[in-house]
């Protein structure tokens, strides 16, 4: 039942925020923050209690489960389940939701109620995606996620918001429809083979597929997930959407939407189609490496600071893709670690960049410079997250990328070597960005207020989490190990590792 509450709390929050009276923005913000805080507390309680109390008897890696009939005539159930992987990602969702709500305190001053409704709605849908283990339910949440995001970008975004929102929606929706086809295909193949028509994840996992069919169905899922993950060459929507979105929208996009794609790969695309995935792994890893390098190069070529951060996401998510298909638990754990660390560091960068460009009225790096003296706390935070994102030891990003490279190295040394090049390019673009913005002469004579109390609190929270991830990664690795071991693709023998 607690799983239902995880989804219900943001929904109730959205309702309360929506009906709060006109002109009482403070109440609306308060409700939103309270909803995320409650949810975060619930998640952390689950995290702390999981080893002792929550293990289901014979439930595999699930910590908690909720299963009710929903549309019985098609074998669709309202089936939620939580394992370590879902748990850490839900914790990330609530944390980033909290941060996004706080960061929009100054950023969003118009249509405040509707904004918060969308934010909470979005969070509820993302949590639903992380919990659903009925494929129909998963698809419903997956689609529900799009609408509020479309509003967030399209209403509160920057100058080209409509174009960006359109592009984002069409890209993702078209790919989701492919997934829907694959999903139905799998449903019918499983039903015809066994006589049991069901969308249940556990049941569909062992479906026997001919190689050709398996590949086509897998590709349907893969494309949908990889578009969300924004791997090259399907990353096209990302720079526009990230750049045009308001700060909170960018936080959600970078922190959650990209993760949802990665989660889909880990949870569904690979375990449901082990053979096809094994066959496809080289291509996927190639795409991963291409994303890493291409993202880094394009990031370096940007003059718009927000766009630069957007392209670094492409690069970092390449690591995730690489880790997912490397076929070892270590690499998979690394991928999850990158997801968490990148979620926090990139979100923090977006918040900082948003705060900066709001103050000076431009996102062009050419017009920045010398901000260290003007705003030391802001510049300091920017430095911290630039370092985190380039993979300095001591931050979560380092742990993740290191584990991925370790896992990949065992499988293919050249790929690992090429991917490792990015550690250098990441250092270049991160430090370059920092240097352009904060060092050098203050040619335009900026005098800007430093981080406000709320912003400083946000930064303090995010810095402590990312450092904690770097210093004590065991907290995440322990809780996710069991889940990831059962989800690990068996690349070598091309047989489902589960059965």
């Amino acid at each position: 039942m607690i799983l239902v509450w995880l989804i219900a709390v943001p929904c109730i929050g959205a309702l309360l925020a929506g009906i709060s009276p006109r002109g009482r923005e403070l109440r609306c913000r308060g409700v939103t923050i309270a909803a995320f805080a409650i949810n975060l507390a619930l998640t952390l309680a689950l995290w702390i209690m999981h080893p002792a109390v929550l293990r289901l008897a014979g439930g595999g890696a699930w910590f908690a489960e909720f299963d009710r009939a929903w549309i019985p005539s098609l074998g669709i159930r309202f089936h939620l389940a939580l394992d370590g992987l879902s748990l850490v990602l839900i914790a990330l969702t609530n944390f980033l939701g909290l941060m996004a709500a706080a960061a929009s305190w100054r950023d969003i001053t118009e249509k405040v109620r509707f904004f918060h409704v969308n934010l909470l709605w979005m969070a509820a849908a993302v949590i639903g995606v992380f919990l659903a283990v009925d494929l129909f339910l998963f698809y419903s949440f997956w689609e529900l996620m799009l609408v509020p995001l479309y509003f967030l970008i399209g209403i509160w975004g920057h100058e080209q918001r409509l174009y960006a929102a359109f592009k984002f929606f069409i890209f993702t929706q078209a790919s989701s429809l492919l997934m829907l086809l694959s999903l139905l295909g799998l449903y019918f193949i499983h039903g015809r083979a066994t006589g049991v028509y069901t969308f249940d994840y556990g049941a569909l996992m062992g479906t026997a597929l001919s190689p050709g069919t398996g590949m086509w169905l897998m590709l349907g899922f893969f494309v949908a997930f990889v578009i969300k993950l924004a791997a090259v060459p399907l990353h096209n929507w990302l720079p526009d959407a990230h750049t045009q979105a308001p700060t909170a929208g960018s936080v959600i996009l970078a922190g959650l939407v990209l993760k949802v794609g990665a989660y889909g790969l880990i949870r569904f695309a690979v375990p449901l189609f082990p053979a096809a995935s094994a066959q496809f792994a080289p291509v996927a890893m190639g795409m991963g490496v291409a994303s890493i390098l291409y993202g880094a190069i394009l990031a370096f070529a940007q003059t718009d600071i927000k766009r630069l951060v957007a392209y670094t996401s492409v690069s970092h998510m390449g690591f995730v893709l690489l880790g997912v298909y490397a076929g070892s638990t270590v690499a998979l754990q690394g991928a999850v670690m990158v997801m968490l660390a990148h979620g926090i560091s990139t979100s923090a960068l977006f918040i900082l960049v948003g705060a900066l460009s709001e103050r000076i009225g431009t996102r062009e790096m050419g017009r920045m410079g010398g901000l260290w003296a003007a705003a030391p706390r802001m510049s300091g935070s920017l430095l911290v997250f630039a370092l985190a994102s380039l993979g300095l030891p001591g931050f979560g990003n380092f742990v993740g990328e290191f584990l991925v490279l370790l896992g990949v190295f065992r499988m293919s040394a050249p790929l690992a070597a090429v991917a490792a090049v990015s550690l250098i390019t990441a250092a270049i673009y991160s430090l370059w960005m920092f240097q352009r913005a904060c060092h050098g002469p203050n040619s335009e004579g900026w005098v800007i207020p430093d981080l406000s109390g709320i912003e400083a609190a946000i930064m303090a929270g995010m810095i402590s989490v990312t450092v904690w991830l770097g210093i004590y990664p065991g907290a995440v690795l322990n809780v996710t190990r069991e889940a990831l071991e059962s989800l690990r693709p068996d690349i070598t023998s091309a047989v489902s590792s589960k059965r």
């Binding site: 009939a69 098609l74 086809l181």
Partner: protein
Amino acid sequence: MVRGDFFILLPLIITGGAAVAVMLLISFRRSHLATATVTLVALGAAVISVICVAAAAPRQASALLILDSYALFYMGLIFAAGCAVTMIAYDYFERQTDHREEFYLLLLLATLGSAVLVSSNHFASLFLGLEILSVSLYALIAFHRERLPSVEAGVRYLILAAASSAFLLFGMALIYLERGDMTFFRSTQIASGVPAWSPLLLAGTALLIVGIGFKLALVPFHMWTPDIYEGAPPPATAFIASVSKGAAFVLLLRYVTLFGLHSGSVQSAAIAAIAVASMFFGNLLALREEKVRRVLAYSSIAHMGYLLVAILAAGPLAAVAAGYYLVAYFTSIIGSFGIISVREGREGGGDAVSDYRGYAWRHPWLGGAFTAMLLSLAGIPITAGFVGKFYLLAAGLESSLRLLVVVLVASSAIGLFYYLRIIITLYGPPEAERQGAAITPAVSLAGGVALTALTFLLIWFGAYPAPLLRLIQAMVGG
């Protein structure tokens, strides 16, 4: 005709009687409220009577009508839709001045015609139902006789519907000539020794499909749909888009099911081609339209194309899929035109997409409802439209109609463009001179109740479809 026949025909008798009553009422005393109330009560009673007579179904009432659970389900749907349209029409015509009571008379007659159509089992009753529906629609469409677009739309519909009736009649005559019987069941049976498909029968079926195709506005019979949608009063458009098309579709589904459409035959290939063309052209042509009603007109062409997939699928899921999709489509399209009608009644002005800019900020509930309707038409989850589309896809895949399913998916992706464009315009920054317009109440009681109910149903059918699915399965699945 025995007593049992009269009992089972109760829904039709109530509607017909109500039409007479309304006519008399108008001639004695012109009262908009009274007329609308009588109409609403009558249609509500018809819905209840459908539930009452369901126990006695199936029953053949004379050679002409068959009242089985299939017919009764769609009859109930049609009457319920009629109720919604009545309430929206009351909201709309309350703001008009002259001659508004006749609208309800025509509405009742058109509803009666649709109900006859879905229960017909004979060419004669098909023809009668269709003509009651069509002739009332001419007048409904041209109802604003002081406005040229409305009258033009009426003329267009007159020509279109009359020509399509001629096609239909000629087709029926040819089939009758070949089969010697005009009841559906026997005219579709293949007698032993007779070749399955003679040229005459083929020609007759083709003409029949052309006639129904005009009614459903399928490509290539879609030419004037946008003009008619644009010109007619919005409540009438809501009726044409939902009930009139729905009834024709239900009829087609029944006829084709009796025929047993074999995959690979000429007929199924022809229907498949029409479906593909409707899906693609409907969605593509909607892209370049600037007016909301025209966009919805083209989108309705595409939706009818989607529904044809259910006809071709013909598997166990297909009938349920068609039923669910029709319910979802009725709810969303009546709701959409309801909001268009409410807005037009109050804000006036044009119907261009840009006229809707900031509407959701002026009237948050109506804007939210419109958003929900459009998302349902686009097929986004937790709206009824998604479950409907999901069922259609499932039905298509079940029968291995891969090409059609892929086209359905691809064209729905195209369709997203124009739905999204309207939605985002609703939330755009309002124009300065419109700021003051929010003072008038957003909607009257009747319209508000109808739209709230429709939005509620839309979400309910999308979030918890099991009860409705059970009902549809019991009524049309068996």
